[in-house]
Symmetry: C2
Subunit: 307 residues, 2 copies
């Protein structure tokens, strides 16, 4: 089935203990769509500048991603620069140039109207809500956000949360959104805001999905999928978006979205996130095989499987 | 089977967002022995001062713990005071009074010589090695340490690590000990220092056990047991020692120590750690039932169990 992501395409300058790169293709929609492309037909709505050409288009096209929704605007593409220290958990932002992304007004091509799965990457909550309302036929909507919107646009975000099925955020964002430090209690507060399920990403420790009572079948227990860095962690940028791509992509690849499917999707999210961080930018996500993906799924499954 | 713990008994003053308590019975050996007491016959070697009397002895005796190895010295018992902020991950130490613990020279009662399992809680590595050498008949030795010894007594610690079977430390300690930030690689470096297995405690995310090639059976994949705070986290003090108590206690309760037993022990470690933090000090560990422990084991098992 098809999946549409709305979000940023960017050029990043990244420094980490493994080295430095400049002007590499990045952005939430890029990481997401490459990760999801191993599971489903992916469509992208984003905006790029005049510095985005055939070379970058081919990164998407080589993975069969539909980029008719990428709008070309006058000016430069969104640019970001960051440095990771030894612990690799948080980047120091060196610069942010919004450029053409500043006036981003997502336009959904007519041909995308039949998309079944929607992912609203981290953009202004009002824009997320607007896109969601325009895509009335979607079966399931995933959504990301960040501290910035939780603090600066709480009312807009509250409206958006009523329109999404699965929210994917990290521990700190969950606690901030819920104003509550106990994670399961914070999760329940966030679920009361609208989503049927909440995926909390724990970085190198995996992710936990919490369900609304009765959502996606019976039961109320949360579920955790672990991860483990298998290779060197070179560049953590895009790990969360790659996680979302694996998670949403796997859902879109299945006939039905039930709890067992959501649990496996959580593992695939961890798998794609763990691949993404092995090289700078999207390099690793551009040339994976389904065999490599399945092999890592098995490693992560065995990591917590009790006989 | 029997298990001996050598470590500290203390009185703690603790402040957390849940409240404040003063002079409560604590210390690594206390948390460890109470947690382990639900699985095996526990024996303690520690030192206390003149402020330790029948009331405190009864906390151990009520759980059937053998305290003939607790030495009574002149002076006051070890005291520690700490404050936890909102994130609860790290305490700010307000004071440390070593008191009688400063000159602690572990003496093993003759009656303890037949103990099968040994846990060396966090004390000077030279003392740990000395105890281990005196206990030649033990089947398996677990060991804890901390940043302080990794930095101040690296050579003594290296000697101790050659004498232990399972080392239980946290993420930061593992990376510091291995001088390596990638966790699986750091784990392999630590295993090369001596232990057959390394348990890395991830706090609220559970723990991972890494095995030396060929140790405890075939296979080389690590294993992760998750945790999740079920109730309020009131006082994180002693979570690691309670984890160790559940882990070592479960091992001591089994006939054979193989990989499947070690995996389940990792879950029981998480279970006992999660109970410990629900109340101040050792309150929750004093009055558990095996039914409560098994129920939580099942919750944690289902937390990552894929059909």
């Amino acid at each position: 089935m098809s999946i549409l992501v709305v979000g940023s395409v960017a050029y990043d300058d990244v420094s980490s203990p493994s080295g430095s790169v400049k002007g590499i293709l990045a952005g939430a929609a890029t990481y997401f769509s490459l990760a999801a492309s191993y599971f489903a037909q992916v469509r992208v709505v984003a905006v790029v500048g005049e510095d985005f050409g055939p070379e970058q288009e081919n990164v998407f096209r080589n993975r069969g991603i539909d980029i008719r929704g990428i709008e070309h605007a006058k000016g430069r593409t969104f640019r970001w620069g960051g440095t990771y220290g030894e612990n690799l958990n948080e980047a120091k932002t060196n610069f942010t140039e919004l450029n053409v992304f500043e006036g981003f007004q997502p336009r959904i091509p007519e041909e995308y109207q039949d998309t079944e799965f929607l992912f609203l990457a981290n953009i202004q909550p009002l824009l997320q809500a607007d896109v969601r309302r325009k895509m009335n036929g979607v079966r399931l909507t995933g959504c990301d956000t960040m501290n910035y919107w939780i603090q600066r646009a709480p009312r807009e975000l509250a409206e958006t949360l009523k329109l999404v099925d699965v929210l994917l955020i990290n521990d700190a964002e969950t606690k901030m959104l819920a104003k509550e430090t106990n994670l399961p209690r914070a999760a329940n507060k966030v679920l009361a805001m609208g989503p049927q399920a909440l995926v909390i990403k724990h970085g190198e420790y995996g992710a936990t999905i919490f369900f609304r009572e009765g959502a996606f079948g019976i039961g109320r227990h949360p579920f955790r999928a672990p991860t483990l860095p298998i290779e060197e962690v070179t560049d953590p940028t895009g790990a969360g978006d790659s996680f979302a791509g694996g998670f949403m992509g796997y859902l879109a690849s299945q006939g039905e979205v039930n709890r067992e499917v959501l649990k496996r999707a959580l593992f695939y999210g961890g798998v794609m996130g763990s691949f993404a961080v092995e090289r700078f930018g999207t390099e690793r996500l551009q040339s994976l095989t389904r065999e490599e993906i399945e092999a890592r799924f098995q490693i992560f499954r065995e990591l917590t499987h009790l006989e």
